[in-house]
C-alpha cells in the first residue's frame, strides 16, 4: 500500500513537472544576422511543447515591441495571428542590434474564501492595479498568496556589426544581460549570459537550453543549468542551429503587499559556424 502511494505520488509529481514546463513560449526569427544597408526579417511567435513546432497556440501580439539599435521603440509590421501562431516582420534599417520583446508583469493574489472556495485577483486577462488590492482581496482571505510576477519573451537580430544599446536592462523583472553578444554565437565558443532580477544579479536562476527540432529527436536533450553567485550562466552549444532558452526565478524579496517575487524569461538564439 505504501509502495502504491509513493508510486502514485511520483506519477503526480511527474505530471506536475510536465504541466509546469508544458507549452513553452517562443519568438523565432528566421535569420538573426543581416548584412548590407537594410534587411527584412520574419518571425513566428507561438507556444508549443516541441521547440519551434507550430502546433499548439499563437502568442499574443499585444505589447509586442521592437527596440532599435538606438534604443527607440517601433512597431512590428504585417502582424498576423492564426490558430497556431502569430507572425510578423521587422525591417532593419539601422546598423546594429535590435531587441524584439514581449514583457508583462504585476501583482496577483490567490486565496480561499470563507467556504474554502479558491479565488484569485486580478480576473483572467486583466492587469492588476495595485491600488485595488485592499478592496479586491478580502481581509480574512485564507492561505493568501500574493505574487509580484514578471514575464518576458524576446529575441535579437543584427544588421551589420552587433551593438549593445538595445540590450540594456530595464531593471524590472527577470532579464538577460549579455556577456557574449546574443548575435555573435559560434559553435566552438561557449556563451555567457548574466541574469538580473529587478536589476540585481539573480543567483540560482533555473535555465533550460534546448536545440530546436525536438520533434525529430527521441529526447529533448535539454541542458539544465543554474546561474552562479554572480547571476552568470555558461552555455556550451552542441551543434549549429536555433536554440530556445527558458529561465525561471522565485524568491521572497517582493515588495508589500506581495510576498513572492517571480520571473519567467525565454529567448531564442541562433548558433552559427565559427
Amino acid at each position: 500500500m505504501k509502495k502504491i502511494i509513493s508510486q502514485l505520488m511520483l506519477v503526480c509529481l511527474a505530471g506536475a513537472a510536465v504541466t509546469a514546463e508544458a507549452h513553452r513560449s517562443w519568438m523565432l526569427p528566421y535569420e538573426t544576422i543581416k548584412a548590407g544597408e537594410s534587411g527584412w526579417v520574419t518571425f513566428d511567435l507561438a507556444s508549443s511543447n516541441d521547440i519551434f513546432q507550430i502546433d499548439h497556440g499563437p502568442g499574443r501580439a499585444e505589447g509586442l515591441t521592437v527596440l532599435t539599435p538606438e534604443g527607440k521603440t517601433e512597431e512590428a509590421q504585417n502582424i498576423f495571428t492564426g490558430k497556431l501562431r502569430t507572425s510578423f516582420d521587422v525591417n532593419l534599417l539601422q546598423q546594429g542590434t535590435y531587441k524584439i520583446f514581449l514583457a508583462s508583469g504585476g501583482l496577483s493574489a490567490r486565496w480561499e474564501d470563507a467556504e474554502g472556495k479558491r479565488a484569485s485577483w486580478p480576473a483572467r486577462g486583466e492587469k492588476a492595479n495595485p491600488a485595488d488590492f485592499a478592496t479586491a482581496v478580502p481581509k480574512d482571505a485564507k492561505n493568501l498568496q500574493v505574487t509580484q510576477g514578471s514575464r518576458r519573451v524576446e529575441t535579437f537580430v543584427t544588421l551589420g556589426k552587433p551593438s549593445v544599446q538595445a540590450l540594456a536592462p530595464t531593471n524590472v523583472g527577470l532579464e538577460l544581460v549579455p556577456i557574449t553578444h546574443p548575435n555573435d554565437l559560434a559553435i566552438s565558443e561557449p556563451a555567457e549570459f548574466k541574469f538580473l532580477m529587478d536589476g540585481k544579479p539573480a543567483v540560482g536562476v533555473k535555465v533550460t537550453v534546448i536545440a530546436g527540432g525536438t520533434r525529430y529527436r527521441n529526447a529533448a536533450e535539454e541542458l539544465e543549468l543554474a546561474t552562479d553567485k554572480n547571476g552568470i550562466v555558461k552555455i556550451q552549444w552542441k551543434a549549429m542551429g536555433a536554440y530556445w532558452l527558458g529561465a525561471s526565478y522565485k524568491d521572497e524579496k517582493a515588495q508589500k503587499p506581495a510576498k513572492i517575487r517571480s520571473g519567467s524569461y525565454s529567448a531564442t538564439f541562433e548558433v552559427l559556424a565559427e
Binding site: 544576422i33 548584412a35 559556424a273
Partner: protein, 183 residues
C-alpha cells in the same frame, strides 16, 4: 689623367651609391604573391562565389591583427544590394567584414570567373600596410549561392630570409591556394 681618373671613379661611386639608394627599397621590398583558384564546378546552377582573403597575426605580444586583402562580391547591384550576402562569408564576416565600410579601393571587387587569380601585395602599401613578425595565417573563404562554403588556412611565419612558398588546397569550394613570401 690621374686626376681625371680619380674624378671619374668618384663620380662612378656616387652614381652607384645613388642608384643603390634608389634601387634598394624596390629590390628589398617585401611582398606577398597569392594565387587563388576559383574551382570550375559542374553543377546545375552555378554562381560565382563570394570570396574573402585575409591575414591574421597573433604576433606582437598576443596582439591579434586582422587585415582583409581582398573581397569579391556582386558589385553590380543597385544600392549596394550585393553586400546583403557578405555575411555568408561567415568567418570573415565575424573576424573583419562587419567592421569594414565597403567598397574599399584595391580590396573589394566583383566576383571572379573560375580559374587562377594572382594577387600581389607589397609590404608598406595598402592594404598590406604592416605585417607583424611571428606566426600568421592566410585565410581564403568562399561561399556560393545555392552552393557551399569553405575556409582554407595557410599558416606561415614572417619574416623570411629567402622566397618561401606555402600551398593548401580546399576540398569543396576552394581550389588551390599558393602563397609566395618574398623577403
Amino acid at each position: 689623367m690621374f686626376i681625371k681618373g680619380m674624378f671619374t671613379k668618384s663620380v662612378f661611386k656616387k652614381v652607384m651609391l645613388v642608384s643603390c639608394l634608389v634601387a634598394s627599397p624596390v629590390l628589398s621590398a617585401a611582398s606577398l604573391n597569392i594565387a587563388v583558384e576559383v574551382p570550375k564546378l559542374t553543377v546545375a546552377e552555378y554562381h560565382a562565389p563570394y570570396v574573402a582573403i585575409w591575414l591574421e597575426s597573433t604576433a606582437e605580444g598576443d596582439k591579434k591583427t586582422t587585415k582583409t586583402l581582398a573581397v569579391w562580391y556582386d558589385t553590380n547591384m543597385k544600392n549596394n544590394g550585393g553586400q546583403k550576402w557578405l555575411k555568408d562569408l561567415r568567418q570573415w564576416w565575424r573576424r573583419d567584414g562587419r567592421d569594414l565600410q565597403l567598397p574599399i579601393d584595391g580590396v573589394s571587387g566583383a566576383t571572379k570567373l573560375s580559374g587562377v587569380h594572382n594577387l600581389n601585395f607589397t609590404l608598406g602599401q595598402a592594404p598590406l600596410t604592416e605585417l607583424p613578425k611571428g606566426d600568421c595565417v592566410l585565410f581564403v573563404e568562399m561561399s556560393r549561392e545555392v552552393g557551399g562554403r569553405e575556409v582554407v588556412k595557410v599558416p606561415f611565419s614572417w619574416p623570411v630570409k629567402a622566397a618561401t612558398t606555402h600551398s593548401q588546397t580546399g576540398s569543396t569550394e576552394v581550389g588551390a591556394i599558393t602563397l609566395v613570401l618574398n623577403p
